[in-house]
């Protein structure tokens, strides 16, 4: 202590002992203080990056022009209407330099080509992070209140989704995520309001359980509840990880509350003819193109078939025989809104198909499930569980109301402040990792979390996370002129008897008409302008395929003669395109010369045989529809209009618009309409 004091006093004496020396020392100290600001600037991170950049471009061939475009100091993109103050370009200096494409070293690389300019949108709108920060850590990793770390590259498409509510061709991951959001029924429990005020609607069809006892047994419900994926790997039903007693109680309530269907199950029973032949069943299953919508696991364990209807691998374990027959007879009696068509099978066909489906069962499935009859207490407990777990948010259940706002709203989940999120130990503190963990293992967030376990692959989880991350508060504050709305599904409904028939045949499950319906089959909005009456009537009776390469095909609905005529008339009268004028089309008086000229154009100038078959002997174009009988299928007005601009009639069709001259289009139309094919050709099945 004594020593220290001695040192200080001697130091003071040495520095300030005499006024001149003291003045000198103070001046030096002042100079040092004044130098702090410029030194801080000089040794700042961004300055060192700018020096590195200059060193990098120094040896390049275009150094002169690169250096001319380089501006020292802090750069800023300021877009007040978007709330953007981005200084990222202070260090990311090569973003706009096309010639730096080969530079791998960050932060100097060129930005990959995207549809938006840096100056128009800034950086953080897509990438997240703190735009105004000027140090690497603050800009990229800050977790302070209201600040977000940078978005990992794998979720970058969520940036697009903030403005683009429509499906963009270049964002498959976002589009898949949005499909999952609707298809896995997330929005039955979580409300999601989009920035334009509309709500995300579910596209799944959770079955009503009002008459469930007619359809299946309590044992099956029990096994299903325990592990839905064990019955059908492809189901979207999540696993609630129920214990044996709870699963037993819920199944008891569902069976005891079920009311028998008022329909004619007994009549269907009486109609059933015995002696189902498995081979006939398989061929009827194939002929009816059940696999266009329903999948079945093959011997190798792969799912084969569509995903519109439920998987049928073990359907025999699930459904009661009399229910299955009644369902095949007319599915709309049990479920008025089912996407399944009313096939109008004969009694013999119903028996054959029901026998075939009933045989699709697994004797091991649920073999060791033995449930004792439930008492009133268990049934009451089952109801309590159903209310707690929110089963009625998806399924209609007798005696349980559909809950409102059952789960937290997700309208701005992508920008929920990190401080409000509960992270598991060892988890990265970002919204993305929170959402992924919540989807992958909701149970890890505590026993009180009701969210069930969904079965999603890693890619599906990433896609769903991308879609959820696009729901940000920034998306809500974007100027309206930047918003691209989704094309909403219309509520189009054909009228009259034909409309009723089309609802029964579930045409909209596969076909799209006037903005409503599925994507599996061609859009029929202008079908009336396109096809000839004779062909359409024959096709509905006995659909044969037009495209050799398609797996999914139109099934045959055993329509009566009058119903067939009704639909044909309706399509021809109503689904007319205003753009097609039958009077301007080439008439039937086509000379052989013009037909021959059209043939020349078809085979040489336009080489249509690359994709189409006009003559089965020589052509091998298996991409587009076969044209051997196009003259008896399509109207010449449609063919002409199609050749002139295919995308105007069916947006997105792969047939290129070849910008044909009127003469060429007329000659090709003449040639095509001359291809009448062999009338009454047998159905290919």
């Amino acid at each position: 202590m004594q020593f220290l004091r001695k040192v200080f006093s001697s130091a003071g004496q040495a520095l300030f002992g005499d006024p001149v020396r003291a003045f000198g020392v103070v001046s030096v100290a002042l100079m040092l203080v004044l130098a702090i600001a410029p030194a801080k600037d000089h040794f700042s991170q961004w300055h060192s990056y700018q020096r590195h950049y200059l060193a990098l471009i120094h040896d390049r061939g275009d150094a002169v022009s690169l250096r001319r475009r380089f501006q020292p100091g802090i750069h800023q993109i300021w877009l007040p209407e978007l709330g953007v103050v981005d200084r990222c370009t202070t260090c990311h200096l090569g973003l706009n330099e096309a010639s730096l494409a080969d530079v791998k070293q960050q932060p100097f690389r060129k930005h990959p080509v995207v549809p938006h300019s840096l100056d128009g949108f800034g950086c953080v709108i897509c990438h997240g992070g703190q735009g105004a920060a000027t140090t690497v850590d603050e800009a990229h990793h800050s977790e302070r209140a209201g600040e977000d770390p940078i978005l990992p590259a794998r979720y970058i498409e969520s940036g697009c989704g903030q403005c683009h509510q429509n499906a963009l061709p270049g964002t498959p991951q976002l589009n898949l995520g949005r499909t999952i959001l609707a298809r896995y029924g997330c929005v039955h429990c979580h409300a999601i309001a989009l920035p334009d005020g509309t709500r995300v609607t579910a596209t799944d069809h959770p079955p009503s359980l009002v008459h469930v006892a007619d359809k299946t047994s309590r044992e099956w419900i029990y096994s299903w509840l325990k592990d839905p994926q064990a019955f059908a790997g492809s189901t979207t039903m999540p696993n609630y990880k129920l214990n044996d007693a709870d699963a037993g109680d819920i199944s008891a309530y569902l069976i005891s509350s079920s009311k028998p269907q008022a329909g004619d199950a007994a009549a269907a029973d009486a109609k059933s003819a015995p002696g189902a032949d498995p081979a006939a069943g398989a061929s009827l299953y194939g002929e009816s193109f059940c696999s266009s919508c329903h999948a079945v696991q093959n011997a190798a364990g792969n799912l084969v078939g569509g995903d519109v209807g439920p998987e049928l691998t073990r359907i025999g374990n699930k459904v009661k025989p009399q229910w299955l027959r009644a369902w095949l007879d007319n599915p709309r009696i049990y479920d008025a809104t089912t996407p399944m068509p009313h096939y109008r099978f004969t009694a013999q066909q119903i028996a054959t198909l029901a026998g075939y489906l009933q045989a699709k069962s697994d004797s091991d499935y649920g073999a060791n499930v033995h449930l004792d009859a439930a008492n009133a207490k268990q049934i009451a407990h089952g109801r309590k569980l159903i209310v707690e777990l929110g089963c009625a948010a998806c399924h209609e259940i007798n005696g349980v109301q559909k809950p409102e706002n059952f789960a937290p709203e997700l309208s701005a989940i992508g920008s929920k402040p990190l401080a409000q999120l509960v992270f598991l130990p060892g988890m990265e503190h970002t919204q993305a990792s929170y959402i992924v963990a919540k989807i992958r293992q909701p149970g890890a967030f505590g026993a009180s979390v009701k969210m069930p376990q969904f079965t999603l692959s890693a890619a599906q989880t990433d896609a769903l996370t991308t879609a959820l991350l696009s729901l940000t508060s920034r998306a809500r504050s974007m100027p309206d002129n930047l918003r691209v709305a989704a094309i909403p599904e219309t509520s189009y409904q054909p009228t009259g008897h034909a409309g009723k028939l089309m609802a029964e045949l579930a045409c909209f499950s596969c076909h799209r008409i006037n903005g409503r319906g599925g994507e599996m089959a061609p859009d029929l909005t202008w079908e009336g302008s396109a096809v000839q009456r004779q062909w359409l009537g024959d096709f509905l009776k006995n659909p044969n395929t037009l495209r050799p390469s398609l797996i999914r095909r139109m099934p045959r609905f055993n329509l009566s003669e009058s119903d067939n005529k009704e639909i044909t008339d309706y399509i021809l009268a109503v689904y007319q395109s205003p753009a097609i004028d039958p009077d301007t089309a080439p008439t039937a008086t086509n000379s052989p010369e013009i037909v021959e000229h059209g043939r020349q154009l078809f085979y040489s100038k336009y080489a249509c045989q690359a994709c189409h078959i006009a003559d089965t002997k020589t052509d091998k174009g298996y991409i587009g529809p076969t044209l051997t009988q196009v003259g008896s299928r399509l109207t010449s007005a449609w063919v002409y209009a199609w050749l002139k601009n295919p995308q105007a009639l069916r947006p997105g069709t792969a047939e290129p618009n070849q910008n044909l001259s009127d003469d060429d289009a007329r000659a090709l139309t003449a040639f095509l309409t001359s291809l009448k094919g062999s009338a009454g050709r047998g159905t290919k099945q």
Binding site: A14, R154, Y155, P169, I623
Partner: protein
């Protein structure tokens, strides 16, 4: 007196330096990778790629199939228990980054590509008996524009340009009299300029005196779509496409 002051200062300086050194050491120890100790029980002399190379994925995402390499000995028999480490350029991550080969001599890892589009040169390393054995693996990441190109190619082009035909997406390649070039055919496509590719896509084969079986897509695809298709072609070209760069290098 001054000497004494200086001595005490230097004493202090030494203390600070020591403290700084200690701190650095401590932080170094903290930041050192805490990889679990993998004890190799065997060593091979060769390594081959079993599967998972030459995949094409989106930037920043995990590749669809895992990368599998096999370690062999002199006789070409698989070696179990050999250590394999995976390395890649910045941004690429492996799960796991180091692994022992299984009973069939194979090491499996899942690869997540970096955020920048292009070819990624990955390396698998096994210590070997005498010297380390390296195996190079190439994967491709598609950035936004390239991926848009790949989606458009699937929609419009691969129905003819893809030699592989599957029931899900039939290709007419085998049925065409003049075979189209697959987009990976770098030997041909690398020699064509962007402008030539664009004019073939937009105006069809006859634009460059080639087959009319290639129809014009200029009225169907936008200019941005065509650029995306070209960018995709350039990225997947094999051998790789070398863009015409700067003509001369300054000293």
């Amino acid at each position: 007196m001054i000497r004494r002051f200086a001595a005490s200062m230097s004493f202090r300086l030494a203390g600070w330096v020591a403290l700084l050194a200690l701190a650095t050491l401590a932080s170094c120890r903290q930041s050192a990778p805490s990889a679990p100790a993998l004890k190799a029980t065997a060593a091979g002399t060769a390594m081959v790629e079993s599967s998972g190379g030459h995949q094409v994925g989106a930037t920043g995402t995990a590749l669809k199939d895992p990368l599998v390499v096999q370690v062999n000995d002199d006789q070409g028999t698989a070696v179990a228990g050999a250590l394999v480490e995976f390395h890649g350029p910045a941004g690429v991550s492996f799960d796991p980054a180091a692994i022992l080969t299984d009973s069939s001599g194979q090491a499996t890892t899942s690869v997540t590509l970096g955020g920048i589009g292009g070819r990624y040169q990955l390396t698998a390393v096994t210590p070997g008996k005498a010297h380390p054995v390296n195996l190079d693996i190439v994967e491709t990441a598609l950035a936004y524009q390239q991926r848009l190109g790949s989606i458009l190619a699937d929609e419009y082009c691969n129905r003819c340009h893809d030699p592989e035909s599957s029931p899900v997406r039939v290709s007419n390649y085998d049925n065409l009299q003049v075979k189209p070039h697959p987009f990976t055919d770098g030997n041909t496509l690398n020699k064509m300029s962007d402008a030539d590719l664009a004019s073939i896509i937009q105006h069809g084969g006859p634009a460059l005196n080639r087959s009319a079986l290639m129809p014009p897509y200029g009225n169907t695809l936008s200019a941005a779509d065509v650029r995306a298709l070209i960018a995709y072609t350039r990225t997947v070209a094999d051998p790789p496409y070398q863009p015409a760069g700067t003509v001369y290098e300054r000293k």
